[in-house]
């Protein structure tokens, strides 16, 4: 009876799968990074600035 004692990451295209999974994770992190910090504050500030004054009253 044979057992899989060795998995060749190159032959199984394991690296491609790992790369794709890391891409998806990193892509979400990049989007979060881009829409936070000063950028997010500025967008909120811009929204506040263009809010009609009567809505606050």
């Amino acid at each position: 009876m044979e057992f899989y004692t060795y998995v060749n990451i190159f032959e199984t295209k394991g690296l491609e799968y790992l790369l794709l999974m890391s891409f998806l994770v990193l892509f979400i992190l990049l989007l979060r990074y881009l829409t936070s910090g000063k950028e997010k504050k500025a967008a909120a500030e811009e929204r506040r600035r263009y809010q009609p004054t009567d809505a606050l009253e």
């Binding site: 690296l15 891409f23 990074y33 000063k38 950028e39």
Partner: protein, 401 residues
């Protein structure tokens, strides 16, 4: 009676337009500027070289031969220039299809840039054809193959130039004070934009597909069956980076022509473009990494070509991508501009590598462009800038009249 009145009205309108146009042709502003001093002699010298090229053949002014049929003119003017013009379809998509109004102030100037880039850079294709009069063959159906990538590319170039002319035509009508014509042409814009996006996606990738048949000639680090996808994705961030680069120069040179409210939105536009470029470059970088692993290129990066490839992918894709992301998060316009310049240099490097530097990489005698090829390339760029300047100083490109 009615026909005679209509004819008189049309003649009168035509006469008015011709007078107006002749008036507009007169030069404005100072003549002795650094740009004029450099560009005028270059354009004149370039025209003289082109005269020799068309009377005595390509070999008289270029270093092209049977082994190296693609030189600087094709590599830089056509392949790189068309990638730089990608901003037109990206911005029109954002504004007219996705309705992102933030980018509305730059639509006109971006479309103008795209139109001129196609006219001049794709037009420069005729310079590099041994028998330039054959350029019409794919259009008129004389000995062409329906399955050829070049057939697709040539038809798309023609159709996309016409589409961009339609997209820009309301500005011309506004300038000529033809209100009814402007209204009619404005109605065509959305259709033209959608058609233009379809054409762009296909021919940006089609330019890459042209090199699929050159597998034995291109270094394996640059050859890939996914070249069309790489060309398409890179054209998106090339276009965005070009808009940032061109916008920076226009903002300085044509400051007086830009309305004051646009000055306020300038920062938001540049940061938005930087964000788009960061995301696209990230995707492009991962595509490159995936292809690298999929095609088992590990052993190829140990020599000079490997280092050259890493410089291109790490130095001119990953680095500007990180810079764009950093700049957007910290709202640093200066870093966006530097990243855009690096990204543009990366596109030049990539396109030159595929078409020229890593093409016939094993050849004993390499191709180096002649000085005449450099002068003609500069001539094409300068002439485009001259036309661009003429248009923006006369037509309502930066603002509506």
């Amino acid at each position: 009676m009615t026909t005679a009145t209509a004819t008189n009205g049309f003649t009168g309108e035509l006469t008015r337009f011709i007078r107006f146009f002749l008036q507009e042709l007169k030069p404005r502003g100072k003549w002795l500027t650094p740009f004029n001093v450099i560009s005028i002699p270059t354009i004149l010298l370039g025209l003289a070289i082109l005269y020799v090229r068309f009377t005595q053949g390509l070999g008289s002014v270029t270093n092209l031969n049977q082994q190296f049929p693609l030189g600087l003119w094709i590599s830089f003017d056509v392949i790189t220039g068309v990638a730089f013009a990608g901003g037109a379809y990206v911005i029109t998509f954002a504004v007219y299809v996705m309705r992102v109004e933030k980018y509305h102030p730059i639509v006109r100037v971006t479309v103008l840039n795209g139109l001129l880039a196609y006219i001049f850079y794709a037009g420069a294709l005729t310079l590099d054809l041994g028998r330039p009069w054959h350029i019409i063959n794919p259009i008129i159906g004389n000995s062409y193959g329906y399955n050829a990538v070049l057939f697709l590319v040539s038809w798309h170039f023609l159709l996309y130039m016409l589409t961009m002319a339609v997209e820009f035509s309301p500005v011309v009508a506004e300038w000529a004070r033809l209100e009814k014509v402007r209204k009619f042409l404005s109605g065509l814009t959305l259709g033209a934009v959608i058609f233009g996006i379809t054409l762009s996606i296909l021919h940006q990738s089609g330019l890459g597909a042209l090199f699929l048949m050159a597998k034995p000639k291109i270094h394996p680090l640059w050859y890939s069956e996914f070249i069309p996808i790489l060309f398409f994705v890179s054209s998106i961030y090339a276009g965005l980076a070009m808009v940032v680069f061109e916008g920076t120069i226009s903002h300085r040179v044509f400051r007086s022509l830009i309305p004051k409210d646009s000055h306020h939105s300038y920062e938001a536009i540049i940061l938005g473009l930087g964000k788009g470029a960061a995301v696209t470059m990230f995707v492009y970088y991962f595509l490159q990494a995936l292809i690298f692993i999929h095609e088992k290129r590990w052993q190829l990066i140990t020599d000079f070509w490997g280092v050259w490839y890493l410089i291109e992918v790490l130095g001119f894709v990953l680095v500007p991508c990180v810079m764009f992301a950093y700049a957007v998060r910290n709202r640093n316009i200066g870093v966006v501009k530097v990243a855009a310049t690096l990204a543009l240099l990366g596109i030049i490097l990539n396109r030159l590598n595929v078409t020229m530097i890593a093409f016939n990489w094993y050849a004993e005698h390499r191709y180096y462009p002649s000085w005449q090829e450099y002068v003609v390339t500069l001539m094409v760029v300068f002439t485009e800038i001259w036309v661009f300047r003429w248009v923006v100083t006369r037509m309502p490109v930066f603002s509506k009249t």
